[in-house]
C-alpha cells in the first residue's frame, strides 16, 4: 500500500523531471524545415511534453483511486467519505497505514521520512489527481502553440507531486517540504506569462505572502515537534493530551499563520485575487481546487491539537466569519470573471475554516472535496469562456449560452453547486457545514460570541453567494454581448465557437462529480437547516435576478451604491499593506545601503585613511636631514643617560 502511495507521488515527479529536461531533447529530429523551424520544433516538443505530462498523471490517478478503494475496504469507510479523526482527543491519524523509510538524525528531534495512508489522505489524493488530470488534458488545448508549454506542464506535474506529498506525508517536516514546493510551483505558474510586469508582480506577491505564513507554520511545527519529541504526525497527535494548553495554543496559532497564507484566509488573503494573472487551468488546479485547500487539510490532519487549543479555534472562527462575508461581498462587485471566482474561493475556504472552528472537520473535508470538484469545473468553464471571448471582463461577455452550450450547461451545474442548490454536490456539503456551525451555538468548542458571529456571517454569506453566482451567470450567458474586443496576446483567438475537445471533455468529466458527489452522503442531510439555507440563497439570487431583469445591459452590482467601490477594491486591504509594510521595508533597505556605505564601510575606509595620515606624520621625522638625525641621536643618548642617573 505504501509502495503504491510512493508511486502515486513519484510518477508525477518523474514526469516533471523528464518534461523539463527531455521535451526538447531530440532537437531537430523531426524535420525542421529551414523556412519555419521554430514552430515545427515547438509543436514536436509540445506534443511530447503533453504525453509526458498526461500519462503519468493518469497512472497516478488510477493508483490513487485504487488506494482509496483499498483504504475503504480495509476500514469500512467510503472513498469519498473521509476518515477524519473525529471526536475530542481522538487518535484517528494513527488508524491508517504508515511506513517510515528512513530516520534522519538532526541532533535534536529526528525527521522520519515516511508516508501515511488513511481515509483522509486517500480521498484528498483522489481529488488532487483527478483535478490534475483534468487540468493537464485541458491545458493541451488551452495552451496550444504556447512556446513554453513543456515547462508549464512539467511544473503542473511537479505541483501534483508536491501536493500528493503533503497529503500522504507521515511527518510534519516532510509535509512542509511539499507545502513549500507547492508555493514555488504556484509562483512559477502564476508568472507563466512573465512578459507582463503585472503577472510577474502577482507571482512574487503570491510567493511572499504565503511565505510569511509559512515561517509561522515552520515554527508551529517546531513547537509541536519538540513538545512531542517527534515530528511524526501520529506521535504528535498521540502526544497532544500531555501537552500544556499554552504549548498547544502557541503551536496552533503559529500553524494558523501558515494555514491563512496557503488557504488565502484573512489577513493573508491578498495574494489570491492577483494570482488569477496565471493561466486559467492553473487557477482551477492550484488556486481553487487543491493547493489552497491544503491549509484546511492540515487543520483536519492535526485536529486533536486544535481541539486542545480553544482560543485558536475562536480566532479561526472570527477570521473565517470576516473572510467569508468580506470575500463574498468583494466577489459581488468584481467585473473580472476570474476574480469573482477567486473571491468566491476565499469565501468558500473561509466557510470550511468556519466549519473546522465549529467542531465539524468531517463536514469541512466533505466540502473541500465537493468544492474542489465544482470550483475546478467553474474555472475550467471560465477558461473556456475567456478562451473564446478573449477577455476576462464580464462587461465584454453576455449571451454566450447559445454559442457555448456545453460550457453553459457545465457552468450552470458549477454555479448551482456553489450556491448550494439541490441536487448539486454543494448543497449537501454546505448543509452539513451549516448544521455543524448551528450546532456549535449550543455545544461545541467555540465561545458563544464567536459562534454567533460565525453563524450570522455564514447565513449572510449564503445569501451573498447566491447573489454573486447569479450575477456572474447572468452576465456571462444571458443578455447581449456588449462589444467584441481585440484578442489579448497569448490568451486566445476571437472566433466564437465551442472550445476544442481537449478542453470540453475535462469539463464534462468534472461536471459529473460536481453534480453527483453529494449523494454519497444523502442520508446525513439536515432538512431543517437545508430549507433555511436554500431560502436564503434563493433570496439573494432572486434579488439579483430582479435587478438584472429591470435593465439586462447594466451590472446588477449597481444596487450596492456607495459600497460598490470599497467592495470592488476588497476593502482597501492591499493599499493598507502597501503603506504599512512594503514601503517602509523598501525605505529601510535603502537606509541600510546608505548606512553600510557611509558608516560601516566608512569606518573601515576612515581607519585606512587615518593610518595613512599617521604614517604621514611619522614620515616627517624621516626626512633625510642628517642634522636632524644627529640631533635626535644626541637627544636620545641624553635621555638614556639622564634616566640611568636618576633611576639607577
Amino acid at each position: 500500500m505504501i509502495t503504491v502511495a510512493s508511486l502515486v507521488i513519484l510518477l508525477p515527479f518523474l514526469a516533471a523531471a523528464t518534461g523539463l529536461l527531455g521535451s526538447r531533447f531530440p532537437r531537430g529530429l523531426r524535420g525542421a524545415t529551414p523556412l519555419d523551424p521554430g514552430t515545427d520544433l515547438n509543436a514536436g516538443a509540445n506534443r511530447r511534453a503533453a504525453w509526458i505530462a498526461v500519462l503519468p498523471t493518469a497512472l497516478s490517478t488510477a493508483l490513487a483511486i485504487w488506494l482509496a478503494y483499498a483504504t475503504w475496504a480495509a476500514t469500512g469507510q467510503g472513498g469519498i467519505e473521509p476518515g477524519v479523526p473525529i471526536g475530542i482527543g481522538g487518535q484517528g491519524a494513527a488508524d491508517g497505514v504508515t511506513a517510515t523509510f528512513t530516520v534522519i538524525e538532526t541532533g535534536s528531534v529526528p525527521i522520519s521520512v515516511g508516508l501515511l495512508v488513511d481515509g483522509l489522505a486517500a480521498s484528498i489524493a483522489v481529488l488532487v489527481t483527478v483535478v490534475a488530470l483534468a487540468v493537464q488534458v485541458y491545458s493541451i488545448g488551452y495552451l496550444h502553440g504556447d512556446r513554453r508549454y513543456p515547462s508549464y506542464s512539467s511544473f503542473i506535474s511537479l505541483f501534483t507531486s508536491a501536493m500528493l506529498l503533503v497529503v500522504y506525508a507521515a511527518d510534519l517536516l516532510v509535509l512542509y517540504v511539499g507545502w513549500e514546493i507547492m508555493g514555488l510551483c504556484s509562483y512559477l505558474l502564476v508568472g507563466h506569462w512573465w512578459e507582463e510586469r503585472a503577472n510577474s508582480r502577482a507571482a512574487i506577491k503570491a510567493f511572499l505572502v504565503t511565505r510569511i505564513g509559512d515561517v509561522g507554520f515552520l515554527f508551529g511545527i517546531f513547537v509541536l515537534g519538540t513538545a512531542a519529541g517527534s515530528f511524526r504526525i501520529a506521535d504528535v497527535i498521540a502526544g497532544v493530551p500531555e501537552m500544556s494548553s499554552g504549548t498547544l495554543i502557541a503551536a496552533t496559532m503559529l500553524l494558523l499563520a501558515g494555514v491563512a497564507g496557503k488557504s488565502a484566509q484573512v489577513p493573508l488573503h491578498v495574494w489570491l485575487p492577483d494570482a488569477m494573472a496565471g493561466p486559467t487551468p492553473i487557477s482551477a488546479l492550484i488556486h481553487a481546487a487543491t493547493m489552497v485547500a491544503a491549509g484546511i487539510f492540515v487543520v483536519a490532519r492535526l485536529y486533536p491539537a486544535f481541539l486542545g487549543a480553544r482560543p485558536t479555534l475562536d480566532v479561526l472562527a472570527v477570521l473565517a466569519a470576516l473572510g467569508m462575508l468580506g470575500a463574498a461581498l468583494a466577489a459581488l462587485a468584481q467585473d473580472d470573471l476570474k476574480r469573482v471566482l477567486a473571491y468566491s474561493t476565499i469565501s468558500q475556504l473561509a466557510y470550511m475554516a468556519g466549519a473546522l472552528a465549529a467542531g465539524s472537520p468531517d463536514a469541512a473535508i466533505f466540502h473541500l472535496i465537493t468544492h474542489g470538484a465544482f470550483k475546478a469545473l467553474l474555472f475550467l468553464c471560465a477558461g473556456a469562456v475567456i478562451h473564446v471571448v478573449g477577455s476576462n471582463l464580464m462587461s465584454t461577455m453576455g449571451g454566450l449560452r447559445r454559442e457555448l452550450p456545453v460550457t453553459f450547461a457545465a457552468m450552470t451545474i458549477g454555479f448551482a453547486a456553489l450556491m448550494g442548490l439541490p441536487p448539486a454536490s454543494g448543497f449537501f456539503s454546505k448543509d452539513e457545514m451549516l448544521a455543524g456551525i448551528e450546532h456549535s451555538l449550543s455545544a461545541g468548542p467555540l465561545t458563544d460570541a464567536a459562534a454567533f458571529l460565525l453563524y450570522g456571517c455564514a447565513l449572510a454569506t449564503i445569501a451573498v453567494t447566491g447573489a454573486y453566482a447569479t450575477r456572474a451567470w447572468l452576465r456571462t450567458f444571458f443578455g447581449q454581448r456588449a462589444s467584441r474586443p481585440e484578442p489579448v496576446a497569448g490568451e486566445a483567438h476571437a472566433a466564437v465557437s465551442e472550445v476544442p475537445a481537449t478542453m470540453s471533455r475535462p469539463i464534462v468529466v468534472l461536471a459529473v462529480p460536481a453534480l453527483l458527489l453529494g449523494f454519497a452522503r444523502i442520508g446525513d442531510v439536515h432538512w431543517g437547516t437545508a430549507a433555511l439555507s436554500l431560502t436564503v440563497a434563493l433570496l439573494g439570487a432572486g434579488a439579483v435576478y430582479a435587478v438584472w431583469r429591470s435593465a439586462p445591459q447594466t451590472d446588477p452590482a449597481r444596487v450596492l451604491g456607495p459600497f460598490r467601490v470599497p467592495c470592488e477594491r476588497a476593502f482597501y486591504v492591499d493599499s493598507v499593506y502597501t503603506r504599512l509594510l512594503v514601503r517602509p521595508v523598501l525605505l529601510l533597505a535603502r537606509l541600510v545601503v546608505r548606512t553600510d556605505n557611509r558608516v560601516v564601510d566608512g569606518t573601515v575606509r576612515g581607519s585606512g585613511r587615518a593610518t595613512l595620515r599617521l604614517a604621514g606624520l611619522v614620515r616627517l621625522v624621516q626626512n633625510g636631514n642628517v642634522q636632524l638625525y644627529v640631533t635626535g641621536l644626541l637627544a636620545g643618548v641624553l635621555l638614556i643617560a639622564a634616566g640611568a642617573v636618576i633611576f639607577g
Partner: protein, 566 residues
C-alpha cells in the same frame, strides 16, 4: 601515516611547481599544454578526495581518520598534523570539486567564449600565472581543512590569502586594485587577532594539538582566559566568515573578482571562517563559547536582516549575491551560537549548501556579466528568459535554491539553525533565542523577497533597449583586465590601475561572434563548458536537498561529541 592526505596537498603543489620550470615550447603549444595541465591536476586531486570519502569510515565519523603526525619544528612544538573527520571531509571534497570545476570552466571552452581567462587576446593575462595561483590556492584551502595543529591551521589559513589577492588584483574588474588591497589588509588584520587567540590557547594549555584540546574541553584554562581567547579567535574568524559588521571587504572583493575568484571566495574561503568556529572556537573554548554565544547570535541575526535589506536595494547583481552571503552566513553563525547539536549540524549543513549554491550563483552571474558587459540590474534590462532562456532558467534555479526552498540544499541548514535557536543549549537565555529565531524567520521572508524581485527585474518582462551597443562594447572592454604583454606583476598592477581610462580598444578586437545584430548583441546561451562546470553543482544541490541524510550522517556524530551531547 597516510599517503592520501599528503597526496591531497602534494598533487596540486607539485602541479604548481611544475609550472615554474621554464619550458622551451612556443606559446601556442605551451598554452595547449596548460589547458590540459590545470584540469588534470585538479581532477586528480578531486579524484583523490573522492577516494578519501569512499575510504572514510562512515561508521566512526567522529574520530579523526587518516591521521598523519610528523614533527616539523620541534622547538615550537609545531607538528605537521593532518586528519579528517565528519566535519572536514565534506569541506575537503567541496574544495577539490569547486577547484576542478573552475578549471573545467576556464580550460574547456572555446578561446572566445565568455570567461576564458586563459586565452591571450581576450584579456587572458598570463595564463600560467593564473593556473599556478589557483593551484597554490587549492593547497592552502585543503590544508586549512585538514590541519589538526593550531599553528599549521593558521599557516594554511594565511597561505590562502596571497593567491586570492593576486586573483582579484590581476584578473579582476575595473576597481580591482582597491578591492584587492581592502581584502588582504582586512583579512590580514583579522588573522593577527586570530593568531593572538591561538597563542593564548597555546600559552595556557601548552599544546597545539586540536584533537587533544577538543578532548580536554577547556580544562587548564580559566573562564576569563577562555572568554578572551574566544573573543580573539572569534573576531579573527568572523572577519573571514564574514560576520556583520566586519563584512565590508566582501562586496567589493566579489564585485571585482573574476568569476572563478568569486566562486572560490564564496564557495570555500568563507567556509574557512565558519569551519574554525566548529573546529577551534567552540570545542576548545566551551566556557568562552557559552559566555559569548548570545553576542554571536545577536550579530548573526543582525547580519541576516541587514544583509537581506541591503540586497533589497542593490543595483548590481554580483554585489547583491555578495550581500546575500552575509545573510546566509548569518544563519550559519546563528546555528553555532545555539551551541546545540541541531544548530551546529544546521550550521555545517548550511556551510556546504551555501558553498554549492553561491558558487553556482556566482558562476551564473559571472556568465551574465561577461555576456552583457555589466552586472548592473537596470542596465541588464529584463527579459532574460526571452533571449537567454537556459541561462535565465539556471539563474532562477540558483536563486530558488538560495532562498531556502525545501527540497533543495539551502533549506536544511536554515531550518536546523532555527530549530536549534528554538531550543538553545542549557544555560543560554531561551526568550532571547526565540527573538533570534523570529528575526531569522523574518530574514527568510526578506531573502525570498530580494531574490524574487531580482528575478522579476532581470529575467521577466520584455527585453528593453536600455543598453546601447556602443556603451556595451565599451563596458565589455573596460570590464576585462589589461591585455598588453606585460612582463612582471608590478607592471600588470600598474596597467591595471590605469585600466579605467586607457583601456578602450585594448581588447576590443575579439568580441563574441555577431556582437551587433538588430540593436542588441546576440549573446550565446549556456555553452557546453559552462554546463559541464555547473551540472555537478546542480546535481549536488538537488541531492542534498532531497537526501539531507547524506550530510547529516557525517556531521551528526562529530557534533554530538563536540558539544558533549549523547
Amino acid at each position: 601515516m597516510s599517503w592520501l592526505l599528503i597526496a591531497l596537498l602534494g598533487v596540486p603543489l607539485a602541479g604548481a611547481a611544475v609550472l615554474l620550470v621554464p619550458s622551451g615550447a612556443d606559446t601556442a603549444a605551451r598554452e595547449r599544454l596548460l589547458r590540459v595541465h590545470g584540469p588534470a591536476v585538479s581532477g586528480v586531486t578531486f579524484a583523490l578526495s573522492v577516494v578519501l570519502a569512499a575510504a572514510f569510515d562512515h561508521g566512526d565519523a567522529a574520530r579523526a581518520q587518516f591521521v598523519t603526525d610528523l614533527a616539523w619544528i620541534p622547538g615550537l612544538d609545531l607538528s605537521f598534523h593532518l586528519g579528517v573527520d565528519g566535519i572536514s571531509l565534506p569541506l575537503v571534497v567541496l574544495t577539490t570539486l569547486l577547484t576542478f570545476l573552475c578549471f573545467v570552466y576556464l580550460c574547456r571552452g572555446r578561446a572566445d567564449g565568455p570567461g576564458q581567462l586563459l586565452s591571450p587576446g581576450r584579456g587572458g593575462n598570463r595564463p600560467r600565472a593564473l593556473v599556478f595561483t589557483l593551484l597554490i590556492l587549492e593547497v592552502g584551502m585543503i590544508g586549512t581543512f585538514l590541519a589538526l595543529d593550531l599553528l599549521l591551521f593558521f599557516v594554511f589559513f594565511e597561505v590562502v590569502l596571497i593567491p586570492m589577492y593576486f586573483v582579484i588584483a590581476l584578473w579582476g574588474g575595473r576597481a580591482r586594485r582597491a578591492a584587492a588591497i581592502k581584502f588582504i589588509l582586512y583579512t590580514l588584520l583579522g588573522s593577527v587577532v586570530l593568531l593572538i587567540g591561538l597563542l593564548i590557547i597555546w600559552s595556557q594549555t601548552g599544546t597545539l594539538d586540536m584533537t587533544a584540546l577538543a578532548q580536554a574541553r577547556g580544562t587548564g584554562m580559566s573562564r576569563p582566559v577562555q572568554i578572551i581567547a574566544f573573543l580573539a579567535v572569534g573576531i579573527g574568524l568572523a572577519v573571514k566568515t564574514p560576520m556583520w559588521p566586519l563584512h565590508t571587504w566582501l562586496p567589493d572583493a566579489h564585485t571585482e573578482a573574476p568569476t572563478v575568484g568569486s566562486v572560490l571566495l564564496a564557495g570555500v574561503l568563507l567556509k574557512m571562517g565558519t569551519y574554525g568556529f566548529a573546529r577551534i572556537a567552540i570545542p576548545v573554548l566551551p566556557d568562552g563559547a557559552a559566555a559569548m554565544a548570545p553576542w554571536l547570535g545577536a550579530f548573526a541575526v543582525i547580519g541576516i536582516i541587514y544583509g537581506s535589506l541591503a540586497c533589497l536595494a542593490q543595483r548590481d547583481l554580483k554585489r547583491m549575491i555578495a550581500y546575500s552571503s552575509v545573510g546566509h552566513m548569518g544563519f550559519v553563525l546563528l546555528g553555532f551560537a545555539t551551541l546545540t547539536p541541531a544548530g551546529i549540524n544546521g550550521a555545517l549543513f548550511g556551510n556546504i549548501a551555501h558553498g554549492l549554491i553561491t558558487a553556482l550563483l556566482f558562476f551564473v552571474a559571472g556568465a551574465i556579466k561577461e555576456r552583457y558587459g555589466t552586472s548592473d540590474m537596470p542596465a541588464l534590462g529584463g527579459g532574460m528568459l526571452t533571449h537567454l532562456p537556459h541561462l535565465g532558467s539556471l539563474l532562477t534555479f540558483a536563486c530558488v535554491a538560495s532562498l531556502g526552498l525545501p527540497g533543495l540544499a539551502g533549506f536544511w541548514g536554515e531550518m536546523l539553525a532555527l530549530l536549534g535557536a528554538f531550543e538553545p543549549a542549557a544555560g543560554l537565555s531561551g526568550p532571547l533565542y526565540l527573538v533570534f529565531m523570529a528575526l531569522g524567520g523574518l530574514g527568510t521572508v526578506l531573502t525570498a523577497a530580494y531574490f524574487l524581485l531580482m528575478l522579476s527585474r532581470v529575467t521577466h518582462g520584455r527585453s528593453t533597449e536600455t543598453v546601447h551597443v556602443p556603451l556595451l562594447a565599451a563596458a565589455t572592454t573596460d570590464a576585462l583586465p589589461s591585455t598588453g604583454p606585460t612582463g612582471s606583476e608590478d607592471a600588470a598592477l600598474e596597467s591595471g590601475a590605469g585600466g579605467k581610462e586607457d583601456l578602450p580598444g585594448g581588447g576590443g578586437g575579439t568580441h563574441p561572434p555577431g556582437a551587433v545584430s538588430a540593436g542588441r548583441p546576440r549573446m550565446p546561451d549556456v555553452m557546453g563548458y559552462e554546463l559541464a562546470a555547473w551540472v555537478p553543482l546542480i546535481a549536488l544541490i538537488l541531492l542534498f536537498g532531497l537526501w539531507p541524510k547524506a550530510l547529516l550522517l557525517l556531521t551528526d556524530p562529530v557534533v554530538r561529541t563536540l558539544v558533549g551531547a549523547p
